[in-house]
Symmetry: D2
Subunit: 326 residues, 4 copies
């Protein structure tokens, strides 16, 4: 349920405003150099504070409970925890009565018979991606590959020069925008993945859609491939510096579910932040009446800004696992 992977496996836990959140990482090769400082660069990339992200900043200090000894991984499971900060949970009973549109508030109550922790979205909070980022650092070290994700578009705007203004305007309107992240993985050996159910795309997309707020995933030419001719999309093999390579990489580095040695390339579409300041009409599920809702608190105008490092982490978790199966 809350775990993923076969030979390299992660298990996540925690709620936004509970005691702590964390992850158990199992199947890590013994002898990898690792300390909490190694995690900080990626943790900082996910952190809020920049323009377009929520001004609420949390400490995000990781603690290893196990699996690391004298600066190296031991081979046994690594548990990483983060204490939640001084979380003042406002009137969360109200949330159970008036679920926020676009959030999991309503379905969490249905699924867990009203016993879900509603504070700050509880277990469904994007905060749970913090330990995923920490595990991603370990996965990157395991895999030996290079992961590079970047935001290529927000609110439909691909010209980065105009993003600052767009974020200001959206913020002023009390609204939010989404974005698209492109991820490139280099140094991938040919032969990773299995045909059909454990294909590289199947596992990568599984991991990507596990990130809250994802609406679409595409590899290589993606949806555009459906509009291409075979003669355009097909990718002849060539010899390049003695290695077999594809010419165009429209397949995103994967054929028949198996990596072909080229860069893996895929894009992930994030929806706009669900919590907006603008008034919304929605249902009070306890009284059955329509009500006006202004979601309280301070929010990311565009949470997609914080996601590239999460996309990298998830990709690394998948590829470390596939590499560990060879």
């Amino acid at each position: 349920m809350n775990s993923f992977g076969n030979n390299f496996k992660v298990s996540i836990f925690g709620e936004s405003h509970g005691t702590g959140i964390g992850i158990v990482v199992d199947g890590v090769r013994a002898g990898i150099s690792l300390c909490t400082e190694d995690l900080m660069a990626d943790i900082l990339r996910r952190k809020s504070g920049a323009k377009g992200t929520t001004p609420r900043v949390e400490a995000d200090e990781p603690e290893f409970l196990s699996g690391v000894f004298e600066g190296h991984t031991t081979g046994s499971p690594i548990a990483i925890i983060f204490r939640n900060g001084n979380t003042r949970s406002s009137d969360y009973e109200a949330l159970k009565a008036v679920p926020r549109p676009g959030h999991a508030d309503y379905v969490a109550g249905v699924k867990w018979d009203g016993f879900n922790d509603p504070r700050g979205g509880g277990h469904f909070s994007g905060r749970i991606t913090l330990p995923v980022v920490a595990a991603g650092v370990i996965a990157k070290k395991m895999s030996g590959m290079d992961f590079s994700a970047e935001l290529i578009e927000i609110g439909g705007e691909t010209d980065k020069a105009r993003w600052s203004e767009l974020l200001d305007r959206t913020s002023k309107e009390g609204d939010s925008i989404g974005g698209i992240v492109e991820c490139t993985v280099s140094g991938v050996p040919a032969g990773l993945g299995e045909p059909f159910f454990d294909s590289a795309e199947a596992l990568l997309s599984h991991a990507m859609f596990s990130i809250p707020g994802v609406r679409g995933v595409e590899f290589g030419d993606g949806f555009a491939a459906a509009r291409m001719k075979g003669s355009e999309h097909n990718d002849p093999l060539v010899l390049e510096d003695g290695a077999v390579r594809t010419v165009k990489n429209g397949a995103g580095g994967i054929n028949g579910g198996i990596t072909n040695g080229a860069q893996i390339k895929f894009r992930v579409a994030f929806k706009p932040t669900a919590s907006i300041c603008r008034e919304q009409k929605t249902l009070n599920v306890k009284t059955g009446e329509m009500v006006s809702l202004n979601v309280p608190g301070r929010h990311d105008v565009c949470f997609a800004l914080r996601t590239p490092v999460i996309v990298e982490a998830m990709a690394a978790i998948v590829l470390a696992d596939l590499a560990a199966r060879k």
Copy 2:
């Protein structure tokens, strides 16, 4: 590797030109009415023969080896096999030397040290989706939901009135085109799926990317959501005939990974058929020379035409599993 699911599980096997292909379906509830005739409608929808599909038609006769007794499922695993027909495998040694662009020929050889069965694509053949369709029929019965997938676009053309002409023209050019399938699932109870790794989207996309030739998957508003504002994409709750419903269903029936009771809606992008008659330049991996390749045989101009029933089957397999976890 070649199996999928938790409480409702499928395991596939077979090669395009081997003795037979099949699937083992485990976790089927006892007492469901089932006979081979029940499978035929969906098997026929996948069959070739219509315009734009290969004229090579196979028998596709399913046989139950186990799990069915006196017209009902017994609770034990159901094995369904299909014998492969009179497959004349042409010069498959040539395939190992000159892997077809866009096919898995090259990576299969890398992965399996040249021991892969290369005939007709071997285990990577789209033919392996035939037993998936058969299992899908059982999954549909298990789930109690309605699955409806249709092709909404081929070669970039959304006007179905023009498809016939487009297929003719493409065929004449010796080329191929892709397409986009949209799938709608009705009668989905709220509360299916788990947050994060077993979210409904994660599992559905995993299954979709297991189908050969898929390049993208999107739910609800999909990639377009990344270009919308929160106030546009957010989906207020309303009461409808006494049930809680969303207004626009831009989330595709899923919030926070959990079904919300609305229809599940997603789209799957299929690339153009890799095998084309037009001459292609590609590598002879044994000699290192570039050669001209005309892929022999008769091919689907647009294999996406045959995929809606496969998309339904995969969706049913996922949702039968999620429903069996409750």
Copy 3:
């Protein structure tokens, strides 16, 4: 449910008197020499016909449907099926009313709401161990280890010279006896298995208790270890031909769940055959009356005679999987 393993995985299916039984073996390394003849030696060891086993002899002819090409494994799943012979199923409605003592007849009906296939025990039949033996041959080849199991005791008698007479006497009484199988695995590398849940003992015992009719499993000194002192049971390390070895192997080749390089040694206790000719009093579950039952048909006096090769196969499946995880 009916599958086992992580990187080397088997999925079984079939009923005693259904169309066929079989197994799908996934995760097999490509390039292993394999043909159906390779399976026959082990299949014959399981076969009935010798003194103490049922005189009913079946054909037991394996057929590969997939995964083997030109005499070698291809890397894709290997499906092996066996057609069931001319099975005359007697009055099986009677079985549903009067479940045979010691058999699964009653629980199968409870579990599967009366839809279970009752003929010859259906899916619970020992016949399903036939494909396990076939998969075991492949697992033995994969693992590169030597598996040797033998019956060391039947009906409490350890002197093999007296077994023939004991079997005759038991047969004449219309009764049955059990037995104990000891299995030794040689050539095991040190370091297989994981601490705790995937310990070598945990996985081996899991596989052993999957064999119908097993009542106990013990490793090394086994239950006797509970009666030893630490100074007696402890196993000092020594150097032997340059390799680290234990002196007594009372741990059965496993410490802390991890193989130590010594032979793995364990014993499996099989109960007496449940089907006996002697009259038994038991319940008619439909009428609620106690009735007399003489189980019809011809049975193994001691089915344990046929189990050593099954024990080997299950051990090989586990160890091939553990070796494939390294």
Copy 4:
């Protein structure tokens, strides 16, 4: 690797002398009343301090990080951690050179290339059973069944009146003894478990052999069944207060892998404590010389005394999982 279960799943982590140990429990039904006090009774049963157990007593204070809100389970994963106390790790480099006989010191080094945490046995320490006991309390609540395990024999002595003297004598000799635990589970519904690989015995034995120091597991009549006749071991069905029951329960509550509604009964054999005060000859694996070893520290004379609650916890974890699959 370090996780177990399908619908109710546990993941353990930690080392004996690391920062902390713990467990993540996933698949817990929402709405179960739970606080840390609920865990204490079972945690105390595992604690040392009584005659025959080590005088070193640790705090064993559980902390919930997640999954519990306002005194009830939320449905999301429950993480329970225990901080390790003031552990003075003596000369653990010595342990790597001279692995303790009967311990995992040697294999841990082999498996993890010498990077294993050797202090107090590291991840292989019996201390990791502490979080298992905590998870067992949750599993017991989930399952609704009654678990009762007791020590029925230590050092071969079944007369409890003589145990005190036996422990004194063994302690004086600087030696250790093993023991046998019998576990009875009541209130088990008929129909749990699956034929073959997920049989109730297979999963229970898997969990039992995950406990450090187990050498054997047997169900019902166990190894004695191998010495019985069919007419003695078979268990006719009878009606008892309107329910179908077996007469003798020699099958330990399980037929064909499926629970039959009777009490589940099994026994677990624990070896004597490996750490003994008496001098042992063993190998210095670094120098290749045989040396004398007196294991420093204070040890359990009979660690089996502390295991009944661990056996109950593991049984509850298995049965909560099987019950959650129905």
